[in-house]
């Protein structure tokens, strides 16, 4: 249930960006989540429908891009897929691995409606 906290933090960030850009509203929020972040995309979507009410993102769509778990072995240098509870090198079985993808919790981008300014500007 910490997804609601994560969602509120995300919306606070998005509203800051929207205010800075002088946006009327937020159309789309794109986030990148890895399974090792501890945040569940579906639960975040559910939390979003509640948390967005009354914000500039009240009508926004939340797009979650789920990232695969990829690890690099520091012993044999192989880059392989991994499971959340098995982060050993698939090539040599070594413990000395680094997660290179799959633990992210990123606000990737936002799409904003900035109606007035767009209208004033010639194409």
């Amino acid at each position: 249930m910490h997804e609601l906290s994560v969602c509120q933090a995300m919306l606070a960030q998005v509203e800051q960006i929207a205010a800075r850009e002088g946006a009327d509203s937020v159309a789309t929020i794109v986030i990148r989540i890895g399974p090792l972040s501890g945040v569940v995309p579906d639960l975040l979507q559910q939390a979003f429908t509640i948390a967005r009410a009354g914000t500039l993102a009240a009508e926004a769509e939340l797009v979650t891009e789920v990232q695969p778990i990829r690890i690099r072995c520091l012993a044999c240098d192989a880059e392989t897929d991994a499971e959340p509870n098995r982060l050993l090198c698939s090539a040599c079985g070594g413990y000395r691995t680094q997660v290179i993808s799959g633990d992210e919790l990123l606000l990737a981008s936002v799409e904003l409606d900035i109606a007035d300014k767009m209208a004033e500007t010639p194409a």
């Binding site: 249930m1 910490h2 906290s5 994560v6 933090a9 995300m10 606070a12 960030q13 960006i17 800075r20 850009e21 946006a23 159309a27 789309t28 986030i31 090792l36 972040s37 501890g38 945040v39 690890i71 520091l74 012993a75 959340p84 509870n85 098995r86 982060l87 050993l88 040599c92 079985g93 070594g94 413990y95 000395r96 691995t97 680094q98 997660v99 633990d103 919790l105 990123l106 606000l107 990737a108 981008s109 936002v110 799409e111 904003l112 409606d113 900035i114 300014k117 767009m118 500007t121 194409a123």
Partner: protein, 272 residues
């Protein structure tokens, strides 16, 4: 200033974004802004502030995480008994309700701030910051933060601590690290607690538990401990003392430490 997080957008270059410059917009006239910030950047910012606060007061902050009832408070009581006289200890307790845990710590003569989260399932950096206003850090050498009992949510929130300790009691089952990988991956030390019960719990195999931790490519120590019988307590205290001296060295070098999520190449165990 950078080209990825949006911090470089100013009055002077905003037209680049809004008129179809390189920052782009979508076909239906919406403005796309690339951000690439951690979703919890506000929490992380507060956590960094807390960490700087700990460092400036020469405090080592240790975050204890586990499921409810795995013995975090009992371990703290035992640790306080052993270290009082050597180090000044402070405790921040996180629970949904009651001051029970803080009262147990206070009964040992140690200052404890209780955070009651209501329904929140974890502590965050802002709650810790708030609690720190009630504590005189100049009177503290080690600050223990006892997180809300929960093997899921606390792992996602940096509090500003230097180290994470994750507890797993033998009554919970030796496959918990495989079931809750995120929180065990975040551990700088995994403590298998209530080892005195192993005599009657033959289904818990400490080796299996450690193996499940190692499967997560975690190289942190995994130790067996009983706050009741005292098994493993000396080892735990030695580790804490070692961490105190490492923290002092970092401080002297103007450095700090965050919980070890990503293994550091120099401290990795060999496979086997």
């Amino acid at each position: 200033m950078c080209d990825t997080c949006g911090c470089n957008i100013t009055q002077g270059n905003r037209h680049l974004i809004q008129e179809g410059g390189k920052h782009a917009h979508t076909k239906d006239g919406k403005v796309a802004v690339e951000v690439l910030q951690n979703l919890l950047s506000e929490n992380d910012h507060q956590a960094a502030h807390n960490r700087a606060h700990f460092d400036s007061h020469q405090v080592l902050a240790v975050n204890l995480m586990s499921s409810p009832g795995s013995g975090k408070t009992r371990l703290l009581e035992r640790t306080i008994d052993a270290l009082q006289g050597s180090y000044r200890i402070g405790v921040i307790e996180g629970d949904l309700e009651t001051e029970n845990d803080a009262d147990r710590i206070r009964a040992k003569g140690v200052e404890a701030i209780q955070i009651t989260t209501g329904t929140a399932c974890h502590l965050d950096a802002h709650m810790i910051h708030h609690a720190l206003h009630e504590m005189d850090l100049d009177q503290v050498d080690i600050l223990f933060i006892e997180n809300v009992g929960n093997l899921v949510c606390p792992a996602s929130f940096d509090l500003g601590q230097h180290l994470n300790v994750t507890l797993l009691s033998v009554t919970e089952g030796d496959d918990k690290p495989a079931k809750y990988p995120v929180i065990f991956r975040a551990a700088d030390h995994v403590l298998i607690t209530k080892s005195d019960l192993l005599a009657v719990l033959d289904e818990f195999d400490p080796k299996q538990a450690e193996e499940a931790v190692r499967q997560l490519a975690v190289t942190s120590p995994v130790s067996l401990l009983s706050a009741k019988s005292g098994e493993g307590i000396d080892h735990w205290l030695e580790w804490l003392t070692q961490q105190m001296s490492e923290q002092a060295q970092r401080r002297a070098a103007g450095e700090t430490a965050s919980p070890k999520i990503q293994p550091d190449g120099q401290h990795l165990h060999a496979h086997g």
